[in-house]
């Protein structure tokens, strides 16, 4: 620190930083992007390895053999009782089936009124029943448990998974080696059912769900697996890890799945993409980069991509295993999938502690390679440092009124607090309106406009967003008169630091969201001043605003999953994404919508204010 306490050298350093500020910022931005893209390059990544000793060397022998029985059970389950048809779940059939397999069976009924109708899944008043059976471990005192769930919801035929679950239960019941109770859960209405069950199990109520209290419990849940097999023919298994708010399960869970896929010769994918071995070719790299980008996009949107995602909040490591029929010749039979699950559950049963040895923060360019937090954080850091550098630049300029005095221009010594506070408060009030009004005004909107409730909510949100663009700079002028040169500098300094803190905190919790926001917000916020061509820069700013970021993400995501959409389809998707985001917040407590509405959007409005400063 001797460097900074020496005034001369300090002056030299700040001089250098202010003089070279723009080039340094540009270099940082480019370096950040390049670093991020480099993460998918195989030589820069690490090979995954099993960290947990209890799951490592002790390979278990899988003996599950009743895959055929599971298939016939699925047929029994399917047509007459119409599991996943319109009649809802055959609760009694399930209770009997579980009881006859020697489990302790309990049911839980729940109901939930959505804030507005969910048009994707066509539901509004949700009423359902969860059925779960507990396999009590012999000679264990009900302190630890594992969960296997199979969602059984209308419209989604998952009866294969339910049948496999029952077959596994039957097989597991006859074994003596269990050290943890195993809970077999069949939940209705996918995530809502899971949420109701989890809240019931932990006796909390964070989302306003109505449910009947659980009768049977089995101690603290150590890990959970969710099973989704939509088709009779399975060619590969896909592992889904992204959970609520971008939380990920411990990497060892992914390693476990991969190890058993290798052992049993099952094709396994992540983000629906197979692994390639040709990393040194351009195609190989693109493939890895696409896989990683998909993960980043899925993580950034903060929703739970399977039943497992809701478990993560309760510190339960969970993943979804999804059977995929991609019409390959190679087929995986039910026995093999059963063995894979048996192996995974037995290894989890061997755990002495909760999964904690491996990484909780990672990106996966493929199942066998991972990027840990230490490698991806610099990419974000390089973007975030731009904001700090610009802030330093402004600070130095603001702190040198002597230069201005030499020029003979007399300025007011310091701008009033009001000039900075007004735009900050107004922007945030707009944010609060964006957060609260769409859901609360839906009835009024439906009354006055020919739209459905869902459309009303989404369109109100967009309307408030657009109206916010007009509001701040006008009101600010009314309140505090003409803006001064120093006024916008102080406001920008505040806004830059605010944005840096916001993005930094977001990236610590959900790297992907923080990074995507940084990529779009940093360039425009770093360069904005009132002295630029207003029309051009207004267009640029709007195009780089949070809403458009969501729109781009929708298009990129569709492109990456190889289902490109036209502009109009993309727009419809964009609208549904917004409604889903609001629903996810109301139903499961996803934080992306409040983050964007209450913090990121107001922050962006502050910069918008600077552009129109006069």
């Amino acid at each position: 620190m001797g460097l900074l306490s020496d005034p001369n050298r300090r002056k030299a350093l700040t001089g250098l930083l202010t003089r070279l500020n723009t080039p340094i910022c540009i270099v940082c931005y480019l370096a950040g992007i390049v670093w991020f893209m480099g993460l998918a390059f195989e030589p820069f990544t690490l090979r995954t390895y099993m960290s947990e000793n209890a799951m490592g060397s002790t390979m278990v022998e899988e003996r599950f053999s009743s895959g055929e029985r599971a298939l016939s059970l699925a047929k029994e389950f399917d047509p007459p009782s119409a599991c996943c048809g319109l009649n809802g779940m055959p609760v009694e059939w399930l209770v009997k089936a579980m009881q006859s397999r020697g489990l302790e069976v309990f049911t839980q009924s729940f109901s939930r009124k959505l804030p507005f109708p969910d048009e994707n899944k066509e539901r509004y008043m949700v009423r359902g029943t969860n059925v779960y059976g507990i396999l009590r471990a012999p000679r264990a005192p009900r302190t630890e448990a594992l969960v296997i769930t199979a969602p059984c919801s209308p419209g989604n035929t998952n009866n294969q998974a339910v049948a496999l679950l029952l077959a596994l239960a039957q097989y597991f019941r006859n074994q003596i080696y269990w050290a943890k109770d195993i809970i077999f859960l069949v939940n209705e209405h996918d995530l809502i059912g899971t949420q109701a069950w989890l809240e019931g199990y932990h006796h909390t109520n964070i989302t306003g769900m109505e449910y009947s209290p659980l009768q049977g419990r089995a101690g603290s849940i150590q890990a959970a697996l969710s099973l989704e097999l939509s088709s009779d023919v399975i060619t590969s298994l896909d592992l889904v890890l992204e959970g609520l708010n971008g939380q990920l399960p411990n990497l060892d869970l992914a390693n476990l799945f991969y190890a058993f896929c290798q052992k049993l010769g099952v094709l396994c994918t992540i983000q629906g993409k197979l692994q390639r071995n040709d990393w040194d070719t351009a195609e190989g790299y693109t493939h890895a980069a696409q896989t990683m980008m998909l993960m980043v996009l899925k993580q950034a949107c903060g929703r739970s991509w399977g039943d497992h995602g809701l478990f993560l909040r309760y510190h339960i490591e969970a993943a979804s295993v999804r059977g995929i029929n991609s019409f390959r010749h190679y087929k995986t039979d039910a026995t093999t999938i059963g063995r894979l699950l048996e192996g995974m559950v037995r290894k989890l049963n061997n755990l002495l502690e909760r999964l904690h040895q491996s990484y909780f923060f990672y990106l996966l360019p493929s199942l066998s390679r991972f990027v840990s937090i230490g490698y991806y954080m610099p990419a974000f850091g390089l973007l975030a440092v731009i904001l700090l550098l610009r802030a330093l630049d402004l600070w130095v300029h603001l702190g040198a009124p002597a230069l201005a005095a030499v020029d003979g221009v007399t300025e007011p010594s310091s701008p009033g607090v009001l000039t900075v506070l007004t735009p900050v408060v107004i922007s945030h009030l707009t944010g609060v309106a964006l957060y609260l009004l769409p859901v609360h005004l839906q009835e009024m909107a439906v009354e006055h406009f020919p739209v459905s409730e869902t459309e009303a909510v989404v369109l109100t949100a967009i309307a408030i967003y657009t109206a916010g663009l007009a509001l701040p700079h006008n009101t600010q002028r009314l309140l505090s008169g003409e803006g001064t040169e120093q006024g916008w500098k102080v406001l920008k300094l505040t806004a830059l630091l605010y944005l840096a803190v916001l993005l930094g905190c977001t990236a610590l919790i959900n790297f992907s969201l923080g990074f995507i926001l940084a990529v779009t917000l940093v360039p425009i916020t770093a360069s904005i001043t009132p002295h630029m061509p207003k029309a051009l820069y207004a267009v640029v700013m709007v195009l780089l605003s949070p809403a458009f970021t969501i729109l781009y993400c929708v298009f990129i995501y569709q492109e990456l999953i190889e289902a490109p959409v036209s502009v109009s389809e993309g727009w419809m998707l964009f609208l549904s994404v917004i409604s889903q985001g609001i629903l996810d917040h109301a139903l499961y407590g996803s934080l992306v919508y409040p983050l964007l509405a209450l913090f990121i959007y107001p922050c962006w409005l502050m910069f918008w204010n600077i552009l129109f400063w006069n």
Binding site: P141, T143, G219
Partner: protein, 640 residues
């Protein structure tokens, strides 16, 4: 009908024979005659032999109450005994096995071995060096530490009350130890510490982990079961180790305490490879003073060793509802222990009076009836001391074969469970749910909770609700924890309304431990021992007002007091709670290091930002300073 007056008994087993009544109960009867009303726990053994003779023999197990009359008697005894020299030692040994087929298709086997030791070493000046049947290792422990009563149990698994009903001898998962010391002991804590260490060696268990941080002194839940009027809970110590794993290493020393070892008698069945291939395994040792004869003129020590095991229908029985001694224990019985005065096998055939539910072979003409846990049960008895029991093959292999479905079990009248609510690592809430399934009777229960200090209970958040209404406990005894010294102890007397669910909740905060206080596997979590629910439950027999078929009408209008309720202790499951745990790994060290660097960096930055810098004036040469001094005196402007 002296038996009607016999108090104290909760779990008892009937022996019908014309053996002399040598149990404590018979002698207590007289003492308790006039104080019958004070007996809060009572039960009646009734025993109907096939030839109609009625005899009573009560092997009381659980809990007893001594009365003032009894104390007087005891004092009298002491003086009279000092005068007359003790008669020849009348040590004796009894063994028995009860087999109860459960509705779930599982099977419950309960062994009891009872050794009586005719001596009273607590009397001053009496040195005991002669041991016949009583194990010397335990006898020495009793006399050295002035133990009045000792109860120790090792349990692997959890008793599933909802499927299996009440056990004969309840015990919590892990190890439980409770000891009443003699009231002459001055340093109870010191004795307790030494005793746990000695017992740890005797039973090859981690009882040495019992220290002051997990020991409590319950004020009401654990009363002495034997003779004596100790009510001062300063001489009681109670501790559980929920984490204790029970295995063959604990079974072997336990078997060595038996007079016949595992060589003869019922103990030959105790083969660990089968006992531990089960759903539940519990072994216990109970030592207490009892009366030697009816007048209670002399005292004896009773050592009762029990072993309970439940075999699972699916894992041990291969899914077939067919059990035999050989299938359960991979042995058959060939003889009684030669040292035993009585050696019997009982099979519960209550649900099967005409043999329609299951088939029992070989058949036995001997039947026995008893009111066990408030329910009238019928047992088939096999007396191993008789040669004809073993038949032609010289071996007894009981066979139980189900004919149809087991049918529904009556819900247990009292049932409790416990769980931790909430998520995150800061706070949580302990929920204890107690069910009273009695259709119309309310009864009080005594709930005891011992919570380790690292869960900091917010006792002001304690709520008791029944039927969604506040239920005020009539008695609360709460001893707050002291960090690193003693646990929380909470005892409450709660009235349970009929057919209700009562929920007791209390919030807690998870403490951040010092880094050396974490166990080697901190991410596993920390255990909180079971809570204990003790209650006098109205009995099934009293519930049934239509039992005229086997009783004369004149005896059945007003429910008999002894039968109207019975004592039950229910243990809830232990809890596994995660505490905030640092990541004891390389990244953890990196974080510590980084924090240090950041702290240093922050310090200097803060210094930099809060200090104003000025260019130093170079100091003046000495000549100028001298000149300035003179100028200051003269009042002339100074040189620079």
């Amino acid at each position: 009908m002296a038996a009607h007056r016999c108090g104290l008994s909760l779990v008892f087993i009937l022996i019908f024979s014309s053996l002399a009544c040598h149990s404590s109960c018979d002698s207590l009867e007289n003492a308790n005659e006039d104080t019958e009303e004070k007996q809060s726990v009572s039960d009646t053994p009734r025993e109907v032999n096939s030839d109609g003779s009625i005899a009573a023999e009560d092997l009381n197990e659980r809990r007893g109450r001594s009365t003032d009359a009894e104390l007087d008697r005891r004092d009298g005894t002491r003086t009279s005994e000092a005068l007359t020299p003790a008669a020849a030692a009348r040590d004796e040994f009894q063994e028995e096995l009860v087999i109860r087929p459960l509705h779930s298709g599982d099977i419950y086997a309960s062994f009891q071995f009872r050794t009586l030791w005719d001596t009273d070493f607590l009397q001053e000046g009496q040195k005991v060096s002669h041991y016949r049947l009583f194990p010397k290792s335990l006898g020495q422990v009793l006399s050295k530490f002035s133990v009045r009563e000792l109860h120790i149990s090792f349990t692997q698994g959890f008793w599933r009350t909802m499927q299996w009903g009440q056990p004969f001898i309840p015990s919590p998962p892990g190890a439980e130890l409770w000891v009443w010391f003699h009231d002459t002991v001055s340093d109870v804590d010191g004795n307790w510490k030494e005793l746990t260490n000695v017992l740890s060696g005797i039973f090859c268990a981690s009882l040495n982990f019992i220290d002051l941080t997990n020991t409590v002194q319950p004020s009401a839940s654990f009363k002495p079961l034997g003779l004596g009027n100790a009510t001062d809970h300063r001489f009681l110590r109670y501790a559980t180790l929920p984490r204790e794993i029970v295995c063959t290493e604990n079974l072997t020393p336990w078997k060595k305490l038996l007079p016949c070892g595992s060589k003869a008698g019922l103990a030959v069945l105790l083969k660990s490879e089968k006992l531990f291939h089960s759903s539940f395994h519990s072994q216990a040792v109970h030592i207490r003073p009892v009366c030697q004869d009816e007048q209670c003129t002399s005292k004896a020590w009773e050592l009762r060793q029990t072993l309970n095991v439940v075999f699972d229908l699916y894992t041990a029985g291969q899914g077939k509802k067919e059990w035999s001694l050989f299938k359960m224990f991979s042995r058959t019985l060939t003889e009684a222990c030669p040292l035993a005065t009585s050696s019997k096998v009982y099979v519960d055939i209550t649900d099967n009076p005409e043999g329609e539910l299951f088939e029992l072979s070989p058949a036995t003409p001997l039947l026995s009836q008893a009111v066990v846990l408030g329910d009238r049960r019928t047992y088939s008895v096999f007396d191993l001391t008789r040669a004809e029991t073993f038949g032609q093959l010289r071996s007894l292999n009981l066979l139980l074969r189900w004919k149809g479905d087991g049918g529904e079990m009556l819900r247990p009248l009292l049932h409790a469970e416990r769980y931790v609510a909430g998520f995150g690592l800061q706070t949580g809430e302990i929920h204890t749910v107690i069910y009273n399934n009695h259709p119309y009777r309310a009864f009080p229960v005594l709930l005891m909770d011992s919570v380790p200090w690292y869960l900091q209970l917010y006792i002001h958040t304690l709520t008791v609700t029944s039927k969604s209404r506040d239920n005020k406990p009539s008695y609360i005894h709460y001893q707050p924890a002291k960090d690193r010294h003693r646990p929380h102890l909470l005892e409450m007397l709660i009235q349970l309304p009929p057919h209700s669910m009562t929920e007791v909740t209390v919030q807690f905060e998870r403490a951040l431990l010092k880094w050396t206080e974490y166990t080697p596997d901190p991410n596993h979590g920390f255990y909180v021992g079971s809570s204990v629910v003790s209650a006098l439950v109205p009995s099934m027999v009293a519930m049934n007002t239509n039992f005229t078929q086997d009783q004369p009408l004149f005896s059945s209008f007003v429910p008999v007091k002894e039968e109207s309720s019975y004592f039950v202790r229910v243990y809830t499951e232990p809890l596994l709670v995660n505490l905030p745990t640092p990541d004891f790994s390389m990244p953890y060290n990196v974080i510590c290091l980084t924090c240090t660097v950041v702290a240093v960096g922050y310090g200097s930055f803060y210094n930099l930002l809060t200090r104003t810098f000025q260019v130093d004036e170079p100091s003046l040469p000495l000549a100028k300073r001298l000149a300035n001094l003179i100028r200051r005196i003269r009042g002339v402007p100074l040189l620079t």
